[in-house]
């Protein structure tokens, strides 16, 4: 039997700027074909749902407070053809679902997100661990389509990029954040959290791409 993971394996920690009951949030249903961890970069897609990664190159970035498989998010959605519902441990729960305003469509898997335009400093586990992160490095995320190497990365990760001052088209991807702290001993923006998870720390920003 596989050893179960820990709740903090994937995390989002708003270490500064979090205003409790009045912070800027967006709540939406996770696209039915997608899944996200806590701390994943999310964006709004053409279906009105949220999905991990950038749905379009200039989508507004957000960071997921909830994972799509959290019990209060996924609830008892495991129902359908196949195994009898009785023997599915979570079927029949009303948690994580409700009816949309048309009173027919069932809304499921709604997650809350911090929007990049808010004034936060965030810590996330959802980034490309192979990259080198330094202070003030801009961060990008991955779009669903495209031919770049980064497109094969898990959607919802952020990665580092470079700004080239003075170029005619300095931005070919949307900047979603700026690295805010580096571990000087390691010379890296990747540090270990208290339970040994690798994390990066950044300020969310929104600087839309300017395509050539």
């Amino acid at each position: 039997m596989a050893s179960p993971g820990q709740n903090y394996d994937h995390l989002l920690d708003p270490i500064s700027g979090y205003d409790g009951m009045h912070d800027l949030q967006f709540r939406g249903s996770v696209e039915s074909t997608e899944d996200n961890h806590r701390g994943s970069l999310m964006s709004l897609n053409a279906n009105g749902n949220v999905q991990p990664g950038m749905s379009t190159v200039n989508a507004m970035p957000m960071w997921a407070i909830n994972a799509s498989d959290d019990l209060d998010v996924a609830g008892g959605t495991a129902w359908g053809a196949g195994a009898q519902p009785l023997y599915r441990a979570d079927s029949g729960n009303i948690a994580g679902q409700t009816l949309a305003t048309d009173n027919t469509t069932v809304l499921r898997r709604q997650v809350a997100c911090f929007v990049a335009t808010g004034g936060y400093e965030l810590v996330t586990t959802e980034f490309n661990p192979s990259s080198n992160y330094q202070e003030n490095n801009p961060l990008v995320s991955y779009t669903v389509v495209g031919g770049e190497a980064t497109d094969s990365r898990p959607k919802g990760w952020v990665d580092v990029t470079a700004l080239h001052a003075g170029e005619t088209v300095p931005l070919d991807e949307t900047i979603v954040g700026v690295v805010s702290r580096v571990n000087t001993a390691l010379g890296s923006g990747i540090r270990k959290e208290v339970y040994n998870q690798s994390v990066i720390q950044f300020w969310p920003v929104y600087l839309p791409a300017r395509l050539a």
Binding site: D70, L71, W79, A81, D90, G92, N93, I94, Q97
Partner: protein, 331 residues
């Protein structure tokens, strides 16, 4: 221009609202309260079908891989059938086991209502208390929406006799309980009403319905049943007084105004709560209010966990043509 008395009363209301003393705050409810009602609202029917049970942290079960609160419950076990044997035969073994499931919790909340207290002063009605009541009903309405989202999943797609919704490949309920859960029974009559009652007994769990859920439009089709169908005394009583809460065909009938959740011509039947599922309130509806300088705000929230776990515990009948089909007409 505002009447001086009214203004004085509203100042008292606002002062009461802004007080930290719960006794003084209570006085706000006794202020001016006359206003034009535009819409009927009601309490939730989910809580009547499955009466809530308050739980405490001691009732919660811990999980290793999540910090989310859950309650783990056991399900009545099933057993292989007994059998006749020749003399000298010994019994076959069957290992004792039983299913269990998780009741999950999530939060239901209202919007946060916010206003400048100066603006609140200009209302004649006790607007805090009114919003308080509306928020509570909005919370209960959301409970009903969540509940019916699951109920509609459990009963499955409607079988009309000509489509394939009686096939297990289309409708998992068919395979599990040996009957469809959502059929057309023809126009309202004594016979079609009785046919709708067969929905739960037709499953392999043989439950009896305990509650009928119907909207406040369809109920008039029952009132319209004449003396040849329901007897002279009852027909006269319904004609004179309408359908006050009463037992018909041995059921308690819950009449809802939520026609968006319980459509016209539709009746849902539910088994008794112990055979149906769960409804736990970890944190029942709580009103949070806050005033800071001249801004005042309030919202409601609750934390509940509920299930419709027994898919043989509810069914749906629609009183329309096409004509009645059988509950156990499964493919």
């Amino acid at each position: 221009m505002l009447n001086a008395d009214v203004r004085s009363r509203n100042e008292n209301v606002i002062n009461s609202l802004r007080s930290d003393d719960p006794m003084i705050s209570k006085e706000a409810q006794e202020g001016v309260n006359d206003y034009l009602r535009l819409r009927a609202r009601e309490d939730g029917f989910a809580r009547r079908i499955q009466p809530p049970i308050p739980v405490t942290p001691a009732d919660l079960d811990r999980q290793v891989d999540t910090v989310k609160p859950v309650i783990v419950k056991d399900v009545e076990p099933d057993t292989p059938a007994a059998y006749g044997v020749p003399f000298g035969a010994v019994p076959m073994n069957h290992y004792i086991d039983a299913p269990r499931y998780r009741v999950m919790f999530d939060r239901v909340m209202s919007h946060r209502f916010i206003a400048d207290v100066a603006n609140l002063l200009t209302y004649d009605m006790d607007i805090r208390q009114i919003f308080n009541d509306l928020m509570l009903k909005d919370i209960l309405a959301e409970e009903d929406r969540k509940y019916m989202a699951v109920v509609n999943t459990v009963v499955g797609p409607q079988y009309e006799g000509t489509n394939t919704n009686n096939q297990a490949a289309v409708n998992p309920r068919v395979d599990e309980v040996g009957a469809v859960g959502n059929i057309t029974v023809g126009p309202m009559s004594r016979a079609s009403l009785a046919h709708s009652m067969k929905g739960l007994p037709s499953t392999n769990r043989h439950l009896n319905p305990a509650v009928g859920l119907i909207n406040n439009i369809t109920i008039w089709d029952i009132v319209a049943l004449d003396r040849t169908e329901i007897g002279g005394d009852l027909a006269e009583e319904l004609f004179r007084n309408g359908f006050a809460e009463r037992q018909v065909m041995g059921l308690r009938w819950f009449i809802t105004i939520k026609t968006d959740l319980v459509p016209t011509n539709v009746v849902y039947h539910f088994a008794a709560p112990k055979q149906l599922g769960d409804f736990y309130t970890f944190e029942d509806v709580t009103v949070s209010t806050k005033h800071e300088n001249y801004l005042w705000e309030m919202f409601c929230y609750e934390m509940i966990g509920a299930t419709v776990k027994n898919s043989g515990g509810c069914c749906r009948s629609e009183f329309i043509n096409p004509a009645s089909v059988e509950w156990d007409d499964i493919a």
